[in-house]
């Protein structure tokens, strides 16, 4: 079961995650210009590696990311096999599963939601690492709300994907806050956690 802090944000974040950073739709003219790799060898990061990237990006310890029932580490214990790990001595699983199990996206969402929520909570308590600009803008009208959201979007992509974001990515992440308007009772919190989840669970974050 997820910690209490997560429950109010689950539904809205799931929806946002689907909407933002989505691949170009079929009618998008940019889609026809896309390059084609001869190798097309895209590999999933193991849970261990993805979790480490997530922890580094959010300035958290790996053990803090997520704990099922408040006890089992999500990545190394509870969802170890689901996230591409092995357990030869007790379960006889010598190699990562050949195909990604259907439960993998659920496990990824749970870890990302927990980690992003924790980062948001810590930023509220301060000093902020990622969400400072929107928290400041919420506290004072001296700060520009759009600019604050853009700064958060940039920070998320830089920290979690190790690169500068494209303009359309910033736009999509900024829009997560707008998408939650009228749905969420706390747009600041849910928009921030949602934007974080979008980047943390993007194809680019999960595969290489």
């Amino acid at each position: 079961m997820l910690p209490e802090r997560n429950r109010g944000t689950v539904r809205t974040c799931m929806m946002v995650a689907v909407l933002a950073l989505a691949p170009a739709c079929k009618d998008d003219p940019a889609a026809v210009k896309r390059d084609y790799s001869a190798k097309a060898r895209v590999l999933p990061k193991s849970g261990e590696v993805w979790g480490r990237d997530l922890a580094n990006g959010l300035a958290l310890e790996e053990w803090e990311l997520c704990r099922e029932l408040g006890q089992l580490d999500c990545v190394s214990e509870a969802h170890r096999i689901t996230l591409g790990g092995v357990e030869p001595a007790r379960l006889g699983i010598d190699e990562p599963l050949e195909t990604t199990p259907v439960s993998a996206p659920i496990a990824v969402d749970r870890v990302a939601l927990s980690a992003c929520s924790l980062r948001y909570e810590r930023d509220v308590e301060g000093p902020a690492v990622i969400f400072g600009p929107v928290l400041d803008a919420n506290r004072s009208s001296r700060f520009d709300w759009l600019q604050a959201r853009e700064q958060v979007a940039q920070s998320l992509v830089r920290r979690l994907l190790s690169r500068d974001p494209k303009a359309e990515e910033v736009e999509a992440l900024v829009a997560t806050y707008d998408a939650l308007d009228g749905i969420s009772d706390n747009v600041l919190r849910d928009g921030s956690i949602g934007a974080c989840m979008v980047v943390a669970t993007s194809t680019e974050a999960l595969f290489y």
């Binding site: 084609y36 590999l43 261990e48 590696v49 580094n56 190699e95 190790s162 290489y208």
Partner: protein, 493 residues
Amino acid sequence: MSTVSPKLRLLAATGALGAVVAVAAVSAPGEAQPPAPDAFCEVYTDAPLCEGAEADCTVCHTTPPSLNAYGVDLAAALSPGEARPLHEDVFLEGLEPGLRAIEDLDSDDDGYLNLEEIMGGSSPSDAGSTPIALSCKDTDKSDGYDVCGYDYDYAFKKVMLDFCGRSPSMLEREDFRRSSNKGGALHDQLDVCLDSEFWRGFDGRVWNIANRKIGPQQAVKSGRDGGEIPLADYDDDFAYFVWTQTDDRDVRLVLTGQTFVSMQRTNEGTVYEEWNRSPREDADLRGYDRYQGVIEERRAGLITHRWFLMSNTMFTSIPRTTAAQAYRAFLGYDISKLEGLHPIADEPQDYDNKGVQVEACASCHSTLDPLSYPFSRYEGIGGGNAQQYSYSPRRLEGFKDVDGIRVTTTPEAGYIFGEPVADLVEWAEVAANSRAFRRSTVLDYWRLLLREDPRATERGEFNDLVDALGTDHGWSVEAMLHDLIDTEAYGAP
């Protein structure tokens, strides 16, 4: 002397398959040079899948003997009108005309003719595989990675993820991008990562390569994290395996070494340390449930470790399972899949009265039994006449009541790859110096890093690594990995 491979003869002998099936069933790479894949590559000399090796069984099969779409088309076109199953000579004579006859077909219905696929390095039986020259497209090389060639920035990110266990930071990526010597910087980074705990530590990536070779079972483990029935400690095996694969050590030690390695987890990471004690000294130091029982001159790397003998030999006189596991785990040949067969004349002798001379059994046991004899003097859990897990020249006397008096006449000498060997130490020496061992070693890392076997177009690069492991790389896995990350297969997005 017939030039037909053992596997082809077996297929003919069982009567289950026509000669057509044997086109690619004869696939075992290594010392064996089966004629059918060779014949295929004589027809398509310049095909990527024939680079440095014979054609693979998957050209015509899904899993032998089942044919894939291309194999079905070939079967229909091969020597039409001849009685089936085809005699091997008829089969080989009809192979080229048969292959030519289906060149203009599109067996997998993907829009590319079979000939285009064979010469373009893709599979004529897989609609998801299309000729590379026709499918690669990079309209703007400044918009990210170069998807049509080796890309250093991509390789750098992969090295960080594969060997260091994390993505590079933005700063690290920028530093690398600005480097004037990206090749040098890439290899410097690999050196750093090869020393990481993620790569070489307890439960790390190298450690886990050994899972299938060692087959750990916690319930019967002794020592750290021991189970309820402590029989042996596989920590010795994992530690030894990692040690042989790191710090430029000779990887052949995995089969030929006569020492052991301890593993200790510290705050600075996992520390491996070589040690050498007699069985008595080790029993005194580590206790009865952990000591290694084979005397130094009879040791042969992992295959004489206590865990290997306990979990494979167990209570058997002629330890066929042990030999088969050694053959599979370290040489890449699975006898149960008819791989690596080298039948020996007048074998199997069936010294232990198991009925293996029946024709259907003898096909494999004429290889497996002489492969197993050198293991027969090493004690398992019980049944012999000496201390468990030790070397005992008269071990088989303990089995005469169970397997009959003739079991005591089983020779210690045997054969591997058709070559006679006096004992297991010699067996291991031949094995470790074989191409099969080099291929199996490189394949372990290829699969770890690329998560699949070499593709047809990558066979040249793969075979170069296999060849170099025993020459340029000086039998060092780490030297081999430096070359592996330079391949197109690794560095082209």
